[in-house]
């Protein structure tokens, strides 16, 4: 479903991706862990077509993302959801309006069907009753759930998560991770998760890769990777006990 082969990306003299290989099967969930500032979010931006690789291939559902035209990329993005680190909700819209936004803007669905879909995803993320509140009136955890609801409302085949646990306390982080797992299991959504949290990787991912210096160093099930003897992996995980 998602495939990156030999992807290189530099920003000026800074090499961020150095021949990255990554494969996520349809309906499965892959987490990428790595040090801050190592380029994990850059990886996600290649998958959604916000960045183009200097070389290498980026494929989503068989489409070569860098080669898509503007309209084709828009079509592909309609099948993808993206959860931003801090939700990226539009602050003058209510929770309901934020979630309805992609449907109102990119589909011709009637308003009553949009309302039905919004209420359904609000139930899925356990946020019934928050429809009329503004992003500034809800907690960080709730904002993250609203972001997730907005990503889900278009019924995507793929969701990209950019540090879903960022800014959350451990309890809320666990709850969001469990929700991600629940949604993936229920709807068979292919997920690519960039995270700092071992807890999130353990709960939400089928497979885990440790990302460092532009490549995936070690890959396997979360249990295998978290027990890996690789010195860089031990060094990274050792500094992040949970």
């Amino acid at each position: 479903m998602i495939e990156l082969r030999g992807v290189h990306k530099s920003f000026g003299p800074l090499q961020v991706l150095r021949g990255l290989d990554l494969f996520v099967d349809e309906g499965r969930s892959f987490a990428v862990m790595g040090p801050s500032g190592s380029g994990k979010s850059v990886l996600l931006k290649h998958v959604i077509g916000l960045l183009r690789p200097d070389s290498g291939r980026v494929l989503v559902a068989g489409n070569s993302v860098p080669d898509l035209g503007r309209d084709e990329l828009r079509e592909l993005r309609r099948e993808m959801g993206y959860l931003f680190q801090f939700g990226a909700l539009i602050n003058w819209l209510t929770v309901f309006e934020n979630i309805a936004l992609p449907l109102r803007e990119t589909t011709d669905l009637p308003e009553d069907e949009i309302a039905g879909r919004v209420r359904r995803v609000l139930r899925q993320v356990h946020l019934e009753g928050a429809e009329d509140r503004y992003p500034s009136q809800i907690s960080g955890g709730m904002q993250k759930r609203v972001g997730l609801a907005r990503a889900l409302v278009t019924e995507p085949r793929v969701i990209l998560y950019d540090e879903p646990e960022a800014g959350l306390d451990p309890g809320m982080s666990q709850s969001v991770s469990e929700l991600m797992r629940e949604l993936q299991g229920e709807f068979g959504i292919t997920s690519l998760i960039v995270t700092h949290s071992q807890l999130c990787a353990r709960i939400a991912a089928d497979r885990l890769g440790i990302f460092d210096q532009g490549v995936i160093l070690v890959e396997g099930t979360p249990a295998e990777v978290l027990a890996s003897d690789h010195p860089r992996v031990r060094e990274f995980l050792g500094s992040r006990r949970e």
Binding site: L50, L89, T106, R150
Partner: protein
């Protein structure tokens, strides 16, 4: 270590050219998206209220004092030659042609362009613009079109308000300092604005209103464009807001000259 010329180019010339290029692209794209207007009608009305109705009192206050200043500066000189009866004419022409569109544009640049730059800049640094892009929502249609159009429509309306209030301000000086009676002052104003032009409006008046349409469009494009180019957190938003006001005012002055030359000279 780069040589000084390269450094000067990359810190001064490159960003300016990039900003100008983006501004031109944004103007064209906004005009090309005019058919989306019906979908943006609610947002357009909101922006007309924010940009126009909420600026009326500031524009009126400034215009009133500008009218008084013009009347005072010119009137006292005219009085030395016993020509103070013409003060209404001179206030009306200077307000209609020059002062009202200019002052309105500067007030809008300082208040509305800065607000637009800060609002869109904050959205940019908080990934909200990227969120729109990944949801396949055109940020220019969703955010820029209603703002630019609202300013383009409201700027001439505010300018007309400034014309009227400025002339009244001049009248206050004519009555209190130059010992004219108000009907005589208004007669002089009427004489100045009698020359009919486009759509039956006085020629001097519509020249000022055309200027204000251009200023309104330009100020909103600069405000939105600066915001969309914001980078690097809160400090980046602050810099962007400053640049939006500075660039708007510089462009208002430059365009004012060329429009005056085209419309009046």
């Amino acid at each position: 270590m780069r040589d000084p010329f390269t450094r000067l180019g990359s810190t001064l010339v490159t960003p300016t050219v990039r900003q100008a290029g983006f501004g031109v692209w944004l103007s064209g794209r906004t005009l090309a998206l005019l058919p989306h207007l019906w979908r943006r009608r609610r947002s357009l009305l909101d922006q007309m209220y924010l940009a126009g109705v909420k600026s009326v009192h500031v524009v009126a206050f400034v215009a009133f004092f500008i009218g008084m200043i013009v009347a005072l500066q010119i009137g006292l000189k005219l009085a030395e030659y016993g020509q103070q009866d013409s003060i209404g004419m001179l206030v009306a022409i200077s307000m209609a042609r020059e002062m009202a569109p200019f002052v309105t544009a500067v007030v809008l640049a300082a208040s509305v362009a800065s607000a637009m730059a800060a609002e869109l800049g904050t959205m940019k640094v908080q990934d909200e613009l990227t969120a729109l892009e990944v949801m396949s929502i055109d940020a220019v249609s969703y955010l820029v079109l209603p703002r630019v159009l609202a300013m383009t429509l409201m700027a001439p309306i505010l300018t007309a308000v400034a014309d009227v209030v400025g002339i009244v301000g001049g009248g206050v000086i004519a009555v209190t300092q130059l010992q004219l009676d108000f009907p005589a002052y208004l007669l002089s104003v009427d004489e100045a604005l009698r020359d009919p032009g486009l759509l039956g409006l006085p020629q001097d008046l519509y020249a000022g209103l055309i200027k204000s349409v251009v200023f309104g469009f330009m100020i909103a494009v600069v405000g939105c464009g600066s915001g969309m180019m914001a980078e690097k957190g809160a400090a980046g938003v602050a810099r962007t807001t400053r640049e939006a006001v500075r660039t708007s005012i510089i462009l208002i002055i430059i365009f004012n000259y060329f429009l005056s030359w085209l419309l009046v000279a």
